[in-house]
Symmetry: C2
Subunit: 354 residues, 2 copies
């Protein structure tokens, strides 16, 4: 493997000194980019885009050609694992994900296989290896997975949900069955992230998109506990290099201390808390990643520059900050506005690393 020319993100995630704040953007390979829309159209379907390593690699690299980002994140979907378990994932045009065979009973859960991810998700590992080669050490490549709870909500609901009634009914009515599902998912996610690391991912992030839908005690029992199980099962060093682990539990800012105690390296933070408060609460235990409201990218570049400055100032001086949005970039953003953001982070952040 080629030596890494820019390891700023890996350093910041481990709270080592850096000379400026590194930046990447959740969903940076996404629908706001015309070149992404073009490749997606050529792929025919979203699933084909995910499952063809050359196309997944191409869209992963696209934002790096436009913007001076400090990391790539492998293009994929968070629902590859349930698909590999046989649920039959599809995406109808203009709609969210759908499972042909959602999990509807304890029997369904008992029968779910723990897939051999190296085989059934080989297309992801191939995309990771190919992208790592193509990056040629320019910036690190981040791998990712959905959290067990987040995957379980889609598997039980059969798709997206507003209230998660079926998934929550399961955890309250049949907690032992829910734990069986979540344990199986946690072990599979562990395999999956370890396989991504072996294929070339230099850091990994777990997206707990729906952790914030749970009550505080249910969150700890049904989401946090399984992320902790994954963190302790991951290869934290590969080929002599540390592999940082980022947890992002959206809407769970009252749980930051517990998240910081899982053994992860960094926490993704949404925009509903200031980085100053988050840093006060987690202290020296973890780095923080975030947390600009993605909607700020709809405003003009001068507003974006001002808000980038506020975000950097909120974290304050010192290392341990990876600049990002507090959630994924939305399709209605003008790419030039993201360019303004990245430029502003590069320009303004050295002052915070004296």
């Amino acid at each position: 493997m080629t030596a890494l020319k820019n390891d700023l993100i890996l350093r910041a995630l481990r709270r080592e000194p850096v000379d400026r704040t590194p930046v990447w953007i959740m969903r940076q390979a996404g629908r706001y980019l015309p070149e992404y829309l073009k490749t997606r159209a050529e792929a025919g379907s979203f699933m084909n885009l995910c499952q063809t390593p050359e196309l997944a690699c191409e869209v992963t690299l696209q934002p790096l050609r436009r913007f001076a980002l400090d990391a790539a994140i492998i293009f994929s979907d968070i629902l590859t694992i349930p698909d590999a378990m046989g649920l039959g994932l599809s995406f109808a045009a203009g709609e969210g994900p759908r499972f042909e065979r959602p999990v509807q009973s304890a029997g369904d859960i008992r029968k779910l296989p723990r897939p051999d991810v190296g085989e059934s998700l080989a297309y992801v590992m191939d995309a990771v290896s190919l992208t790592r080669r193509e990056l040629a050490g320019k910036v690190p490549l981040i791998g990712f997975s959905g959290s067990p709870w987040t995957l379980a909500t889609y598997m039980i609901e059969g798709g997206s949900s507003k209230t998660f009634g079926k998934a929550k009914k399961l955890i309250y009515q049949e907690p032992a069955v829910a734990h069986e599902l979540l344990a199986k998912l946690a072990d599979t996610v562990t395999d999956y992230l370890n396989a991504q690391i072996e294929a070339g991912a230099q850091a990994v992030q777990i997206f707990d998109t729906w952790g914030g839908a749970l009550s505080a005690p249910a969150y700890r029992e049904f989401s946090l506990a399984y992320m902790e199980r994954i963190v302790s099962g991951l290869q934290r060093e590969y080929e002599g290099q540390p592999v940082p682990v980022i947890l992002f539990s959206k809407g769970c800012n009252t749980q930051l201390e517990a998240l910081a105690a899982t053994g992860c390296d960094a926490l993704g933070v949404d925009w509903t808390i200031t980085l100053e408060e988050a840093r006060d609460r987690v202290g020296e235990r973890v780095a923080l990643q975030g947390n600009l409201d993605p909607a700020i990218l709809l405003a003009d570049p001068d507003v974006i520059r001002r808000e980038v400055g506020s975000t950097l100032a909120s974290f304050g001086p010192g290392t341990g900050h990876v600049f990002n949005l507090g959630h994924g970039i939305t399709p209605d953003v003008n790419p030039d506005h993201l360019a303004a953001l990245v430029h502003a982070v590069r320009e303004q952040s050295p002052a915070f690393h004296p």
Copy 2:
């Protein structure tokens, strides 16, 4: 006016001693009740149901005939104020609210009238007076309004939204214009709640449903500040009786201390924080209302009884707790399950008021 036979909620909201924890349920007059669906069908449209005082009174009283609830809340919609400002509210079947004339520019905002609510929203005050008479002192009647920020999101987006891109663009790009809109809304909400109090509402609640979509600094500037303005403009006593004010900012649990400092009597709390933690943080300043996850009503009555017990125990001994869900009851709930909840609160709560 008839003397009040059950003032438990008014006492608990003001942190006065009670012998059991009072309970009401957000959206207790709603689609989970077959009798509500029948009246709504007879009304022809949702707007007609809201705008006909006899029908609004009827659905307000329906849940009290089934369940031993300690308060009624006037049946209405949070978007009556923008409708009175001329935006043209409608509800298409199976869809959310729509405004025919959303607010699209600084000029639109400047032209918005501050409506005479006694005139343009007379149908709400008539429903309040009629319901107060019909209740005949059985339990108190709660009035309500949406918060200025929550109303503004619908007015700017033209309806519901996932990301509030237009509303957020306005606050970041043209904050002075946003403040003009929010100030106008705050003054109108103040008029509206005072008119409800004069018509017979014995407590009022402000629903800040979308406060949690904002960053912490934006929340304080664009939502909290205007709720504070309303609180300080309300009649806190009417005909010799104190009128408690409840603020419910969903998804804003990192802001509880600031909410408690607005001068309100009580805070609605969603289920993502324990009442124990919320009480630790706000201390003796305010009462707390909540916070069972509405999804627990989908589980069996034995689970509901157990979770009611946990919620009561989380608040702990002493006054200052009004039992409620952490958000509105959903249409898929079996009414017998709500009966189990209300019964469990009545049965288990006296132990917490020794």
